[in-house]
Symmetry: D2
Subunit: 338 residues, 4 copies
């Protein structure tokens, strides 16, 4: 069975996923594309033989669309996802699931009302080989009960449109999701401390930021977010437990010795760094749909938690205080206790 | 366009490639399978909806076969490849191309007579990300003119049926191909020196072996082949040039600190080590065929060189002497000087 | 000229330094030893041909004592150091210089009154080859202006007598000193956050602790102190600047591949980890005295700062609040601005 | 007891060792110095308060010389060592012990006739912390029975006076000694293969060279000697055994991430690389003499073996053949079987 995918939003990431679903992932075909900019939709749809549809509602409704991919502008996500859920179609939504916790909860309720999992949120790190090894090591008990996680998320630079709250909402959100999954735990509070700012930032930007999270089980997470670090795209994660520690590997790279130095390259591009993770993410999503199984990736609940936690982090940034995340109890539908 | 592939030989590697062409590589479909053991063919063909055909000739001739994959027993390779060439169909042949240099040359001549490249030989290392980075580094001149390459090819163990000449024919053959490609150079002589044998070998087996190769440009290669090294599947390659050196990376792996030790896993399984390389190999092969292009992977000439060089290495092992490989001049058809 | 050293305190560290001054460092001789336990003093003095004196005052006053080494119980340090300063003799005091900031300031004032530097405090990390390389890299501008430092100080275990405030006073004090020196900056506030405690601690102990420091220039430091980490003695330090980062190396160690793993040892013993640093520390101290130069190592001011900052850190631990260190302005005598 | 050392030869290495014995090693004092160039002797002797003596015989005979250090021109070594042995004084001789195997044997015989070990040869690698760890790992059986050792000895460059035979006599001689010790085994044959020569060599020089050794127990050693490698001073050693492998560590060094690269420095200077080994070598030598013990470092027999093996290696270089080393049986006096 080939899964026929309809794509809402043909910007950079939408186009990239259309290419991925067409040329990299087996068992999928993009059959419909829409975008506010119809020309852009046409440019994305043409090479893969998909139709251009007038809007998201048409994509969701289309008879030749088995599953929906939402890659439109963030504030529109919730509406498209709710429509897909209402139609009973599997829907993959790039992060954020919605820009407010309330909208996320609306999706969570709709999905529960529908009675089965349909929504997956695009947190690709869970599909990265390194993070998966890290989770295996933790789950196998090799470091004992986790106590602390040290993380860094560094980008070489950002455009001037990048604002201080995006450090949490757009950047740290990846760690927020992957750490909840790695630790099988929930984040209950956030604090942000501000080091001296780098001279390589826009004047309005607080960069770097150090975010401190506490989990329900008492794990402390420190996360350096540094989006103008200049030297590369560098993702670090080290989990410290009662018996030892485990560290996310750097990507394998040829070492060169020359002119008095032993040198390995550091990635400079997040797309390259997580290329394989994106591929695996979509491969598993499509395979699951083809097999008629519920998605196993980040759920609507995970999308809700990510939005709620990063929103609290922005509040912590602005207030200087420790802010509790005040998450709702996780419903049994999503594997919760109640 | 979907490339329809006919598979000759449904053993372990054939079945693995059928799975790969069906579930991992886009743009391909396995339509026909044959094997000496018809039940085995049926078990491989069934799940992917392919027909079982009585023999290789039938596969090559089938109207719904655009390209042929030869994964049968080594001594039968040449016949199947020659048939595919005669039919003008692209053919991917697992190594060896043929078990004798003479048979390889017969294929080389047939392909030239046909007037275009149809044959690709299954040396997957050229598709490994690490080797590709290594080639980029060398080609970019970062280590200057290469002078020496140090290699190791270690397997945790081999079955008792593994014989001393297989160290060259089955094991070192991968380095022979990848080094010719890395260095853009030809191997002109081989010598084998024998260390003390490990107690973990079968009594009939010379293991480890150190193979010494010289290239036309004067590069010296030392290759440790150790197929009962116990501790893992470990592939090492370090190229030393006039300005510096470059080293093949180990696979990225989570590091764990526990009980007084910093530990990373060493692969124990060659399939896992080169899984991605196999995927890329077939992805590029299928994409080339779909685009109507000649294959860019290891050619029939490379298959000839590999067989001739490893045969000379076996002679070196048996004689204790330095043996010249006496390769024919490379035809212009294969990018040679003449 | 041989520097004649009188040692006050013949416990483990005193005995270790007597051995060091006798057998490892050239140009020094231990001539007098005292200890509250006269037998212990005799056991330490005998093998090196030193006299046993009744108390610290006698050691300071002795005609054959050119320089004083204070390795007695912490609360007695200030008295011995003040006596040595009063006598105009160079004095090396193991940390802490004094157990209260007030006592430290009394020494600082006495030394200034005396008109030349006589006091050195035993923070050996400034003599570790790795930290020295790290300082060279930072001072050379290779990472640009420092913004953040991530540190970890892990011990495999501690005795039951180790209390929660010792995490700052005895353990983190080493980072406090070495970071002030690395960054050429002052620590202005401290905060402590508490992860879930390890089950391998004594019931009364808060372990691990995460300490957060801010410097006068706005650098943020996070320091994990984990004294029951089990797996080893592990000191990590990574400085992040505007242009890049630099990382303290792990000690060089033979790597072993066996049984599917690549393994290097992690130190388990702080004495072994900083053995060379101790040697260099005393070599430079003795050489300076022999040359009639003022000490260049950690000064009385550094000793004051360390005590004041770690005391504030204990307050932060107990209060849960951010505590300012309220250091006095650094006198010009100690290289300060005023 | 202070060991009074007389030094024969005040060139660069002699002066360096005089400094070491005076300022770094405890328990020693240089009391007498001689050199063919009396001014040079005076410049070396003056700062340490030693006498200048007219020749080596005078140094050996001097009443205030307990032990002799021979750092003169290689061809004069044997004479000075024989004189010291005749005088019954401990003698440390920089490599080579003598420039011919015959002269080495003469020393061996003289020492045996004298009835106790007096001679130590200056192979400092046995005192390098990394090699010592490597020996511990091997001796502890962690890699099982050794089968193969891969080595590289690379220098950034050499003066024009460096000749092709010096690759064995002056450079590889260090590996020859340290491998005999690491493996507790003897080298029985040598072969040299020549890669394409680097353009960065003098016209008369064969560089790099690959030396292949076989030991009595059947271990195969390959050693790349590359003295114009440009990029650094790089010493590599990897021992492969029946159960695993062990690798000499690179020196610990601060890693810097900047401009897309993770970088650690490679040493460029052999003096810096083996500084600590030299210090330990002399510390143990002096301590042994002070304790009235026979030297435990490289013996006259080791000096003989090194000269005999490297001489055979030069013959192998010149002939292109495998050359046996034809060592005499090791006398029981030196721990031999007979």
């Amino acid at each position: 069975m080939t899964v026929r995918v309809g794509v809402i939003g043909a910007g950079w990431i939408g186009t990239e996923h259309i290419r991925r679903l067409t040329h990299t992932v087996t068992g999928a075909r993009v059959t419909a594309v829409t975008d506010l900019d119809a020309d852009r939709a046409a440019r994305a749809a043409g090479p893969v033989g998909a139709r251009v549809l007038p809007d998201g509602a048409a994509v969701v409704a289309a008879g030749d669309v088995d599953a929906v991919l939402v890659t439109s502008w963030g504030p529109t996500h919730a509406g498209h996802v709710l429509a897909a859920v209402a139609a009973g179609k599997p829907v993959f939504c790039e992060k954020p699931l919605a820009t407010t916790a309330e909208d996320c909860l609306r999706i969570v309720e709709a999905e529960q009302a529908r009675g089965r999992r349909l929504v997956q949120v695009g947190f690709m790190r869970r599909y990265d080989a390194g993070y998966r090894q890290l989770k295996e090591v933790i789950d196998a008990g090799r470091i004992g009960t986790p106590l602390i996680v040290h993380c860094a998320h560094r980008n070489p630079g950002v455009p001037d449109t990048y604002t201080s709250d995006m450090a949490a909402l757009d950047t740290a959100v990846h760690e927020v999701d992957v750490l909840r999954w790695l630790l099988d735990d929930e984040i209950v509070s956030a604090q942000v401390v501000l080091p001296r700012a780098t001279r390589h930032r826009a004047a309005h930007l607080k960069d770097p930021q150090i975010m401190l999270f506490e989990t329900a089980k008492g794990v402390r997470i420190d996360l350096e977010v540094f989006v103008n670090c200049r030297y590369g795209y560098d993702i670090q994660c080290e989990a410290v437990g009662e018996e030892g520690l485990a560290r996310l590997p750097d990507p394998a790279a040829v070492a060169v010795r020359g002119a008095g130095q032993h040198t390995t390259p550091v990635p400079t591009d997040w797309v390259a760094r997580f290329q394989d993770a994106f591929d695996t993410e979509f491969r598993e999503w499509i395979a699951g749909i083809a097999a008629g199984e519920a998605p196993t990736g980040p759920s609507a609940w995970d999308g809700y938690a990510a939005t709620a936690i990063t929103t609290a982090t922005v509040e912590a940034l602005n207030s200087g205080a420790v802010v509790t995340t005040d998450l709702k109890p996780r419903p049994a539908f999503y594997g919760g206790a109640a």
